[in-house]
Subunit: 73 residues, 2 copies
DNA sequence: TCTATTTATAGCATATATGCTATAAGCAAT
DNA sequence: ATTGCTTATAGCATATATGCTATAAATAGA
């Protein structure tokens, strides 16, 4: 069984783009500051992949929001 | 770089056990109803692995909570 | 104690998340 | 139309999430 749900990943992608915009960061800013690769940030923001909760947590810390705010969509 | 953070995964594990207990489900109940393997549920609840957000979402739906509630710890 | 239930661990195979590098495509300004 | 910035895509290698099966350990009732 495959749990990747396109709609959920697209929703998450949109929420991340939104929060990153609020924080006025580029994908590269987020990548550099978080230590996550730029290609991975782009894949996440296009809903291409199913990130792990630790990746979410690192992104959240970089954006200075709580991890659960990234799932608030 | 590795983003797996032991403390975060342990915190998540504890939160999941807690919510599952509130819902009065066993690991096997959760596994069967969600379609996720029992071994995977056990690994998540012991903080051994770093689950994906789609796995979290499926678990949340099975527990009838919002995904962000699972990150509320 | 004994039994039944529940949780944890282990090994293996497969799918996929992630990093890296490079390239392309989009989008502002001018 | 071109330059510069930003986002998206692609291919490859590696690490790991997940399923499956079996077993062990812990826990709870009687």
């Amino acid at each position: 069984m495959n749990f990747r749900e396109e709609k959920f990943l697209k929703g998450f992608a949109k929420r991340l783009k939104e929060l990153r915009a609020i924080k006025k960061m580029t994908q590269e800013d987020l990548a550099y500051t978080s230590g996550i690769s730029l290609s991975q940030i782009a894949r996440i923001e296009t809903g291409k992949i199913n990130p792990t909760i630790c990746t979410i947590n690192v992104i959240a810390k970089t954006l200075k929001v709580h991890a659960k705010d990234l799932l608030d969509f």
